[in-house]
Amino acid sequence: MTTDLAMQGCCPTPFIPDATPPGLSDRWARALDDGRHHVDFLAPDVHCATCISTIEGALRAQSGVLTARVNLSTRRVAVDYDPTRVNVATLAGVIASTGYAVRPYDAAALRDVTSDAQSRHLLAAMAVAGFSAANIMLLSISVWSGAVDATRDLMHWVSALIAIPTVAFSGQVFFRSAWAGLRARRMNMDLPISVAVLLAVGYSLYETAHSAPHAWFDAAVSLLFFLLIGRYLDHRTRRLARSAAAELTALSATGARRMDGQGQAHWVPIDSIAPGDVIEVLPGERIPVDGVVTEGRSDIDRSLVTGESAPETASPGTLLHAGMNNLTGPLRLSVSATGDATLLADIARMVAAAENSQHRYVQLADRVARFYSPIVHLLALISALVWLWLTGGDGHRAVQIASAVLIITCPCALALAVPTVQAVASSVLFARGIMIKDGAALEKLAEVDHVVFDKTGTLTTGRAQLTDAPPRDDTAWPVALALAAKSRHPLAQSLLAVGGAMAKLDDIQEHAGLGLSAMSSRGLVRMGSAAYLGMTDAQGMSIWVDPADGRGPRVFRFVDTLRSDAAAVVAALRARGLHISLFSGDAPQAVAKVASDLGIVDARPRMTPADKAAALAELAAQGRKVLMVGDGLNDAPALAAAWVAMSPASASDVSRAAAPLVWVAQGLAPVALALRIAGRARMLMRGNLQLTAVYNALAVPIAALGMVTPLIAALAMSGSSILVSLNALRLKWEARA
């Protein structure tokens, strides 16, 4: 399945990994019994077999590592190591050196531990129920084939012996949930299930003890088996959803370099940094806290935080925020806000608030379950009472009929109706490189009527491309390439990608925030911003080069290119009748250009994270169901607040966590595909629920009339469950066609 994913080229992340300092706190590690330590890392970019072998190979080659295992489903790396020979920082460095962004995390804090345990318990319960159902069914076949008297009683007793422990073990999932619901004065779907199972077993025991012809052990246990399948599928779909707010804590830096009175820098944990401290941020590092620059000049990549496409110059007096990348020169900052007070923390709070409001969406299955429960109980009660009256007080017959009604209105078809479609849809999407983390997102996608795009990194590739340059034989080219090779500035990197012969230059110096200079045979050559070369240039991304040949500086212009299929996808979405908007943190000219290229009328520039979230709230108040597509840190609150959201895999960790859908491919086509599949999935879910309704409409009268035997019940339950599953599989067959 992973070979279907169109990747830019396996594996290394475009982001600069955080520098891991020596003495990084080993507080992430857990001590195991025999002196070993265990640590887990987040590695969000692993997605294929090569990633596994690269990371595990690198770790195993490291002395002191005992076991190393990559978990592809949860994107974690688990390492057991000898603390006397290696520490967490070294391990992190080893993984980072293979090109994968990685950071240690606290499994217990992110509540990952319990989710896995629950998954295992469900599987175990399912296995036991399956074993019992199969065996009891076989025993029942002999009864249905005409066993009588002692043989039949033997079969029933053996069935009882198998069924009772099974119900005690596998049924706990439902009993606990039903009991919890009752205590909260609510009737959820687990209540009729629990009542049906317990009643079936109890009633069958009574009948068996009196040598009666019918026993319902197989019905009770099959019911549990089918329901647990549905539960497990549902749980699997939800397991990948992580709290984006918790993800943000992993994104924050764990420490910083603080300057003391003597001008020496010491690594201190982030908690001990207070406003007023002076910290040092080297080139290539992410800024750990909010602060004002006191010394140094550099270029800052603000794209993750504000969405601006061009790096900005920072000089003494500039306010910088935690999360931005320092590109070219070392900086000293006077800390203005730490921890909870940083912009990053603000964003985390907005995301957490948005996530909480999402819980109010009630999924289709739950909406049906709400009135299913009372209706079923009512029907059973009515049948019992009617038969009591008809037979003049025959309690036995009344209970028999009521049990039959409860069992036959088997919620197994209902419990399977939606999870099966979700499971099939998830696998179809995954085969096309779209990962869905939450079943509710699938339903919500189908209701979308408005799509909001972010600009940088979403509609555009986020990388600058050369649009305007002097002719290739111009002397500026070799000089520019030679200077670009020594610069970390992203525009220089893009220029370098063009390739070509480099001039021989001596004494290349980078002047952070300005440009580069060097000595050539002709004299001093320079490359850099317009201001550095003494030109006035209002246009966005450009590099000026003066190769000292007397003709003055020449310009190389760059633009952030649109993704190749952006125009086609936007047009297709508009053709489906969706409204399209563009929200961006970038400058008006850049936004206007992209909007006109794509024909988007509603384009808003200079939006802060709070602005985006507020605009979405406004749209929601108008009754619009919005699909938000975004990638930067500044999109995270909007992604969490939107009706449903999608994020490209190249996005920041937080956006990937905040968006229920993540896609891997380079273009925007997955957005249109996801909408189409969601629409189809919703139709199939509705179809399944209708099938269930029809089944119940037929089954209840038959049960109420007393014509249901265990054989009929077994056939009906299995038949309806299989029918519902087959219907869900249609999605896969259609997708293949």
Binding site: A49, S53, L66, S73, L123, F131, N135, L139
Partner: protein, 54 residues
């Protein structure tokens, strides 16, 4: 009837063995990473168990 009394426990026992095997596989963590297991088929050089003593 006697044959039934012998065969049924045998059948249940064999089925029970299967169940125990499944529960063991579950407990040893083989179901924790199904995507990873699928991807590892493509790797050569997988030794059984990752215990490496460096």
């Amino acid at each position: 009837m006697t044959s039934l009394l012998m065969l049924m426990p045998i059948a249940l026992f064999l089925g029970g063995l299967g169940l125990v095997a499944f529960l063991w596989a579950l407990r040893s963590g083989q179901y924790d990473d199904l995507d990873g297991a699928a991807a590892r088929i493509l790797l050569d050089d997988e030794k059984s168990g990752e215990r490496v003593d460096n």
